[in-house]
């Protein structure tokens, strides 16, 4: 985990990627003190369902034994941790630690941000740091280490925040989450296997060429594995387009296929 964190610190501190946007919070988990009987569960459910970010028919799972309430957060609604805490208090209990599951990419512009992220991220979390092509040349070693750890594969990030934090404060961890987290909204992921990508410059040329295609939102090419990953907005991308584009650069594509959706823990389904 130390290696993991040091690698991530380096990667984040150099300002890798991602367009800023609203955080895409998917799941909220709040530790609640005072839960001691089954009736408590419905009290929580009743108040949580008054939140703007929670569907009226959402499944609110409250574990009395573990003192935790979990619920999904509605897509497109900005996460409001203060409102969540208020709802728990209105139910008659005391909110403690908030944990949110976020899908997306991080834009980190300073070492401080990077350090804050490291403090927030759960040690068991799977991380993805997408790297913009062409901005990583002198970070080769770090990137390779991250790849070796599988950090570049998953598209899910889990963040844990402890204590009372306010989202409206500019220097709080919530501010980082809410304002520097961009949703990674891709519909499909494609992998192209190349006969011999040969060199790092070849990788960069390939990535830049593919990024020019309509619908492509991100590309990663690795000359050591001879594989190119393509993220696209198209649900059913035309694989022949990718093949032809790569082959116009002088490389031979041996196989192109679409990856299945990546699960929460980062493993392919």
């Amino acid at each position: 985990m130390k290696l993991f964190r040091s690698v991530l610190a380096v990667a984040l501190s150099v300002g890798f990627i991602a367009e800023p946007g609203p955080a895409a919070v998917e799941q909220v988990s709040v530790r609640v003190d005072g839960l001691a009987c089954p009736f408590c569960a419905y009290n929580i459910e009743k108040r949580v369902k008054t939140l703007e970010g929670v569907e009226r028919d959402a499944r609110i799972v409250t574990s009395i034994e573990h003192g935790i309430a979990k619920f999904p957060w509605k897509s497109g609604i900005a996460f409001d941790p203060a409102a969540v805490r208020t709802a728990i208090r209105e139910a008659g209990f005391t909110p403690r630690e908030l944990t949110v599951t976020v899908t997306g990419a991080i834009q980190v512009s300073s070492n401080r941000d990077a350090q804050t992220m490291l403090e927030l991220v759960d040690e068991d979390a799977k991380l993805t740091v997408l790297v913009t092509p062409g901005e990583r040349a002198d970070q080769r070693e770090s990137w390779d280490q991250m790849r070796a750890l599988g950090l570049l594969q998953a598209a899910k990030l889990r963040v844990r925040v402890e204590g009372e934090v306010r989202a409206d404060s500019a220097d709080t961890p919530w501010s980082l989450i809410l304002h520097k987290w961009a949703p990674l909204e891709y519909a499909a992921q494609v992998v192209a296997e190349i006969d011999d990508l040969a060199c790092e410059q070849c990788s960069t040329r390939t990535m830049r060429a593919l990024m020019e295609l309509d619908g492509v939102i991100h590309v990663e090419a690795d000359y050591e594995t001879d594989r190119v990953h393509i993220w696209t907005r198209d649900e059913a991308p035309d694989l022949r387009v990718f093949r032809e584009r790569i082959e116009t650069l002088g490389f031979k594509v041996t196989h192109v296929h679409e990856l299945d959706e990546v699960s929460v823990d980062g493993r392919d389904k």
Partner: protein, 277 residues
């Protein structure tokens, strides 16, 4: 004396006791006959429907009465704020009096309606446990439904304390009712209850949520300012889910010193359902 036999002796204090028990327990981990500090969530409502059957006997008067009292208190508790609950109970009463002479008298009516406010002024939450303390104030509003109404506006004050954990809970309460009616119905009442409960079985289902089966034991004491006193031991059982509770129990007298013309209690059987919505 005739008026005493039909209202004050039998119905008055017992109905009050029954109604108070019914209304103030209708919250979370409450006993069948006691109060608790826990309240509904903001904008939440608890409906409690009870069936209570009581047999009264040992008439100290020459009437030699035996009374069968069935009370169905309908209680609503509403969470006006996270710390403040409004409580109201409508006690529907069926009474049958069997006289020593062989005569029988039956009455049905609505007892006085307690309307209370409960304010929680202390709360200490920890993982899997909570401690809460609340004050209660209000009044019993007369329905003027003879013979079950005292026909007086009777203030009530009290306090209730609860400590609840995952496997057990305990609470105690004290309530004082200032009877403003004249005659024997004007004697004030003070009642104190201690309830303790132990989890027998529990579980959690992703689809249906948590549930628990509790064994409960209560001590319910009542003192009337004419010198009458009663202490009951009250065992029972409660099945809790996240939305409803089914509970049953009995009240058995362990000490009674009732001043004439009041009757003694043989036993009370309680069946109850609570729904949270």
């Amino acid at each position: 004396m005739a008026r005493i036999t039909t209202r004050s002796i039998v119905a008055g204090p017992l109905v009050v006791l029954t109604a108070l028990g019914g209304l103030s327990t209708a919250t979370h981990a409450a006993g069948l006959n006691t109060n608790v500090a826990l309240t509904p969530p903001l904008d939440g409502t608890i409906l409690r429907l009870q069936f209570r059957y009581t047999r009264l006997f040992n008439d100290p008067t020459s009437l030699d009465r035996e009374v069968h009292l069935s009370v169905q208190p309908i209680t609503l508790v509403y969470g006006a704020t996270p710390n403040l609950a409004l409580i109201g109970t409508l006690p529907i009463i069926h009474r049958k009096i069997e006289f020593g002479s062989g005569a029988t008298k039956r009455d049905t009516g609505i007892g006085d309606i307690p309307l209370l406010v409960k304010y929680r002024f202390f709360q200490d939450d920890k993982p899997q446990q909570t401690t809460r303390w609340a004050m209660i104030g209000g009044a019993e509003v007369p329905t003027f439904d003879d013979p079950f109404s005292s026909e007086s506006f009777d203030p009530i004050i009290g306090t209730v304390w609860t400590h609840q954990r995952l496997d057990w809970w305990i609470d105690w309460d004290v309530l004082y009712k200032f009877n403003t009616a004249g005659g024997i119905a004007g004697d004030d009442e003070i009642r104190a209850d201690v309830a303790a409960s132990l989890t027998l079985l529990s579980g959690e289902s992703v689809n249906r949520g948590p549930w628990s089966l509790y064994a409960i034991g209560e001590i319910n004491a009542k003192y009337i300012t004419d010198g009458s006193a009663q202490v009951f031991a009250s065992p029972g059982i409660q099945l809790f889910t996240s939305r409803w509770v089914v509970e049953a129990g009995v009240q058995l007298p362990v000490y009674q010193d009732m001043k004439s013309p009041r009757l003694e209690t043989d036993f009370t059987f309680v069946l109850s359902v609570r729904i949270l919505f």
